[in-house]
């Protein structure tokens, strides 16, 4: 590694776990050599695979340090081992079959250095679909930016929307998140990214700074293999969603779910539903008589039994839970609550901006009678209850002037994703112009501007008759950062307008992105 680069910034530790991928590791480490940011250490951990000593030695770069372990202990253990030796202010990642473009580290360091209250930055990566050709060569079938989202804490708790290899974070954040979870076989990266979100904001750099590879058939990626066992995958997802790193959580709301079932069997159902559906951090409080609690066998995490006197009514049981719970928001859950995605998160999202004079209703099964469930700030509910000691819950809310109502669409969580599904539905129906308009409005309301601009350009192209608008969008995207997709779309627009030479120019550019050895690398 002889490429000179910027050396005057903070040290970055790049973690490079590897296991039996000698043929791609060489290329991966080679991409580090070309980094314009030179002040890094690369900690390569061979997780019990065939030795890669010769590959590292050939680099002859003191910044690259190899640890070869005899036993195969998994990726999380490799990352933890590397972290134990890390000295950098920031931590970045490189998998042994991925590639970083030369500006990757520099772009992320510059971004983090410019932030006051943000310890994580991430970029976009190309997902490279490939199949193995003769001699094990990777034949590229396509390079797409499959994920390009601005940070959304609620969404990140539900699904991973950052690619771990694209992430750089402050190393000291790991003191609060704890190490990588070595008990996980898959989603190790999401578990860590999610835990980081408890303590810091993330900043998205909507720029492609590398590539990760996905074989079309017979992928050897552990993450792909792990997903094939669907039950185990779901179990891991739920376990990660239930994870609660040590407090304080400066950036994450804590939802205390108070269950008010009629009897013990109903309590079991409620607890299982909360575990299956809740994606924001939560703890479940079950205020019930001790005898009833004793009959329950709950092996799920985040469960807090709250013994109450025999015969206590729902209000008394809620008061008992309120005295114990630690969350800053509380969900009061009657037995007829309807569970599903965002069952409590919409109300929680609304409650985050609440002044305590509104309780946000949970959905209920059909037209069930009885008191509604709701979410509101815990302190506000405590004040309500103290003011009307012993009164029924709804009565105490009414007496305190608290309105119970569902969240408005503007107060709901995951609004961007709802809008995206609506736009995609319009595409499927062939309503391309309406879909294009949705993408325009989504960019105005939710950012994700680059992604939305591409979607809008594509919809306008499909609609026909709006090629000039589509071309303007494509040109702008390609002026900022051309990708194979945006160049292909612009080429099609030129071709449709019989500007064939312009189309050829864009297609040749796309080709150079897809197969750099066929021409000048463009990134």
């Amino acid at each position: 590694m002889t490429t000179p680069g910027r050396t005057d910034g903070p040290l970055v530790t790049v973690l490079v776990p590897t296991f039996n991928r000698r043929w791609t590791l060489r290329e991966a480490l080679g991409s580090l050599a070309a980094q314009t940011y030179a002040n890094f250490e690369a900690l390569v951990v061979n997780d019990g695979g065939v030795s890669v000593r010769d590959i590292v030695d050939r680099l002859a770069d003191p910044r690259v340090v190899l640890t070869e372990r005899e036993a195969n202990r998994g990726k999380a253990a490799s990352l933890n081992e590397a972290l134990a030796h890390a000295r950098g202010t920031y931590v970045a990642y490189l998998d042994d079959d991925d590639i970083l473009y030369p500006h990757h580290l520099q772009r992320l360091v510059e971004t983090l250095e410019a932030q006051d209250d943000c310890g994580v930055a991430y970029t976009d990566l190309y997902k490279v679909h490939y199949r193995k050709g003769p001699g094990g060569r990777r034949e590229v079938l396509g390079k797409v930016v499959s994920v390009s989202r601005d940070f959304d804490r609620f969404f990140l708790c539900c699904f991973n929307h950052t690619l771990h290899v694209s992430v750089m974070h402050r190393r000291d954040l790991l003191e609060r998140t704890g190490p990588y979870d070595e008990s996980l076989a898959v989603l190790i990266d999401w578990d860590m990214t999610r835990r980081l979100a408890f303590f810091t904001d993330f900043v998205h750099v909507p720029e492609v700074t590398g590539e990760f590879y996905a074989a079309v058939k017979g992928s050897d990626r552990l993450s792909e293999k792990g997903r094939q066992d669907r039950q185990a995958f779901i179990a891991t997802t739920l376990a990660i969603r239930a994870a609660r790193p040590p407090k304080p959580w400066p950036k994450m709301p804590d939802l205390s779910v108070v269950l008010l079932p009629g009897d013990a069997p109903a309590a079991g159902d409620l607890i299982r539903n909360v575990y299956a559906w809740t994606f924001m951090p939560y703890a479940v409080y079950l205020p019930m008589p001790e005898a009833a609690l004793g009959r329950l066998r709950i092996g799920l995490p985040n469960f807090v039994p709250v013994p109450t006197p025999p015969g206590a009514d729902p209000a008394a049981r809620l008061d008992a839970a309120l005295a114990r719970l630690e969350g800053d928001h509380v969900a009061v859950v009657p037995p007829d609550t309807a569970f599903g995605i965002v069952w409590a998160e919409d109300a929680l999202h609304a409650s985050l901006g609440s002044d305590g004079r509104t309780a946000f209703a949970l959905q209920r099964e059909g037209d069930s009678p009885g008191d509604p469930g709701f979410v509101m700030p815990a302190d506000a509910l405590r004040r309500v209850r103290e003011a009307s000691a012993g009164a029924p819950v709804v009565e105490s809310l009414r007496a305190a002037g608290v309105t119970v109502r569902p969240p408005t669409p503007e107060e709901q969580s995951l609004r961007f994703d709802r809008a995206l599904q609506q736009a995609e539905g319009l595409e499927q129906e062939g309503n391309w112009l309406r879909a294009a308009d949705c993408y325009r409005r989504m960019a105005e309301a939710f950012a994700n501007t680059r992604w939305m601009a591409y979607r809008r350009a594509r919809a306008l192209y499909e609609a026909g008759g709006r090629d000039a608008d589509a071309l303007d969008l494509c040109r702008d995207l390609n002026r900022r950062q051309p990708t194979a997709d945006t160049l292909l779309l612009e080429a099609r627009l030129h071709r449709r307008a019989e500007r064939v030479r312009d189309a050829v120019d864009r297609l040749q550019h796309a080709r150079r992105i897809l197969v750099p050895e066929k021409g000048t690398p463009c990134n």
Partner: protein, 209 residues
Amino acid sequence: MQLTAEHVVVEEGLEQHYEVLKELGDCHTSLGHYDRARQCYEEASVLAPEKAGPAVGLGVVELQVTNLDAADRAFRRALDLDPGCAEAYAGLGMVRQHGGRFQEAFDLYMACLDQDADNLVALLGLFQSSCEMGSFAKVIRYLQVYLDRHPGDTSVLYCLATLRARDGQYREAARAAEEILALEPENAEAAALLEEVRRREPVTEAPRP
């Protein structure tokens, strides 16, 4: 609201490299860069050996350089890969037309239009073949179907006007020519055709039911 991994991560781009190469081949063909076009189609067919597109592209290139045997082979290969490939039928029709086998060409164009009623190559080929053979009725129907969907397409409208004139339907031919001139007042061919059918109409056209 549904939210699954499929909604979050879009699996697109598996054919992107193929599409770039195929488009590039088509563009090179348009520009007359036939060797480059061949190379693109060959690489595209390696990436997607199951697709008929590159074979069609190669067939078009061979047609352009009047290598009819090679074109024939390429279009047949395309049909082997995709028996419903309209472009391959149209290409084979052109090969037959070049060889003066108008009836075969006519049938192949019809087969193409059965798959894709909007295929302009087949429509125009059908028009030319039928002019050679003097049979117009079927062609007129296909042109009308096309024009119902693309009412402003003056090149097809002109074919229709010509066919009607040749079939002795002078009033309809005049109407079609007038329609072209309304859209393109400077269209000299349409103006000449209109003049000709107006000259003939009062004398020769039989009353129609």
